[in-house]
């Protein structure tokens, strides 16, 4: 009940813009709103909610979570970009909406200038997988075959422009191979099509792990920079001779021009919260790898990814750069 009353207060205060910038020393003095630009119960939503729960006692103020998935999340990003930079309106920022979406379609915000990164806490672990009875034992074999037989290898992904798709497209390009991407709108349907022998391979996230456990699927590689402790047998693409990696990171950000002390306070609180046992459990369960960065680190990743994804998507002639 208190939760609801405070939420109303937050919304009212936010809407009326009556709040004067709080002194940084005693920040926060009222509840904080975290906007999640995705639907409830997705990977981004679940991890952000667990993090928020752990951060509330540290900040000493409740944090209200609002899901605004409209417009593929772009509306939420715009809303936060336009909010007062006082630290009371934050967004669950992601590589998807920060670095990828602006290259795929027109969005009403500028990732590079409209936001203040506060921290990152994790990255979706993305795997390249084939059926366990498949002839391909390694990523190299799959790519070699794809090079010798252009377009014959089918790769199931969630959507075109997801980091899974972009990662595999870059792998194929680096080896001069041609694969056919088949988007399924989600990881689970792609895995089902893999199991049903309708496609050769998939590039998906945690959805595939139960099928790895049951022995039906083999993981060839992870797109992340290093091996994940829980899957010690799955090589990272860096180990396999590629000089890059792809982290579909998750973090917290606010509007541009937030006062430095407020950023510091939030960064410390959320970093501390990311050590919480329950938060770590949630991360493990949905196969989100830890990727902890402070504000400076988050800003660096963000700038890097905005640049690299733009270059990659341009090169692949996708989204806004598609031939008309």
């Amino acid at each position: 009940m208190t939760d609801r009353i405070t939420r109303r207060m937050t919304l009212a205060a936010g809407a009326a813009l009556i709040a004067a910038p709080a002194g940084a020393q005693d920040f926060p003095t009222r509840p904080i709103t975290l906007v999640i630009p995705f639907s409830p119960a997705g990977g981004s939503d679940l991890t952000a909610r667990a993090l928020v729960k752990a951060a509330e006692p540290i900040l000493g103020q409740p944090i209200t979570v609002v899901n605004r998935p409209a417009g593929g999340g772009a509306q939420a990003m715009q809303e936060v970009a336009r909010a007062a930079p006082d630290g009371y309106t934050l967004v669950n920022s992601t590589a998807i909406l920060t670095a990828i979406a602006p290259n795929m379609r027109d969005v009403p915000y500028n990732s590079a200038t409209d936001f203040t990164p506060i921290m990152t806490y994790g990255a979706f672990n993305t795997f390249i997988a084939v059926r366990a009875d498949s002839q391909y034992q390694t990523l190299q074999e799959l790519l070699d075959f794809a090079k010798a037989n252009p377009r014959v290898v089918t790769v199931g992904v969630s959507v075109i422009g997801a980091s899974s798709h972009l990662g595999m497209a870059r792998l194929a390009q680096d080896r001069g191979a041609q694969v056919s991407f088949v988007p399924f709108g989600g990881g689970a349907p792609a895995v089902t099509a893999l199991l049903g022998r309708h496609i050769t391979s998939v590039v998906v996230s945690g959805e595939v792990l139960p099928h790895v456990a049951s022995g039906q699927v083999r993981l060839l590689a992870t797109l992340m920079g290093e091996r994940v402790p829980s899957l010690p047998n799955v090589p990272s693409i860096r180990e396999l001779g590629f000089d890059w990696s792809m982290n579909s990171w998750l973090g917290i950000a606010g509007p541009a021009n937030m006062p430095q002390p407020v950023v510091k306070r939030l960064q410390d609180a959320f970093l501390q919260a990311s050590n919480d046992a329950n938060f770590k459990r949630v991360m493990d369960e949905i196969a989100v790898a830890e990727l902890r960065n402070d504000a400076a680190g988050a800003a660096r990743i963000m700038a890097e990814d905005i640049r690299s994804f733009e270059a990659l998507i341009k090169e692949l002639k996708l989204g806004r750069y598609a031939a008309r």
């Binding site: 609801r4 939420r7 109303r8 919304l11």
Partner: protein, 161 residues
Amino acid sequence: MEDGAAPEVALSGRWDAAALGLVLLLTIGALVLSLGYPLWGDFQPGPGLFPTLAAGLAVLCALGALGSALLAERGAATGREEARVWRRLLVYAGIVLIWAASFATLGFAASGAIALTLLMRVGEGMGWLPSLAIAGVTIALGWLLFEVLLGVPLPHGVLPT
């Protein structure tokens, strides 16, 4: 064939054909829009192919419907009755649209109260007092149900709290 569950309100002959003509124009518009996207990609259909086929089918169907409407016997028009119906409809439709448009800016309570009071007063011809009462009770019910019980963060707009 007996015309199953006939709608309570339906246009008579000439107007029916005119409305179908309008629908035909809309489907042609959809077709033109669809043709603006690439029909064929490198090895597979482009984004424009399916919308174009769907819109093309719609154009054909609209032509067929229009044709059969023109051939059909024309029903007797009931002019005066229709004028009254149209007035009520305009009131209702207008209020609903204004309610929706002001939902975010005025907030849930204010926009709803105004719209429902007007609806009862103008649309249904009730007195001011019963209109206000029904609007008030409905809004209170909606607030209790959605905001308090179901936890939907409704926009509060001009009202504090």
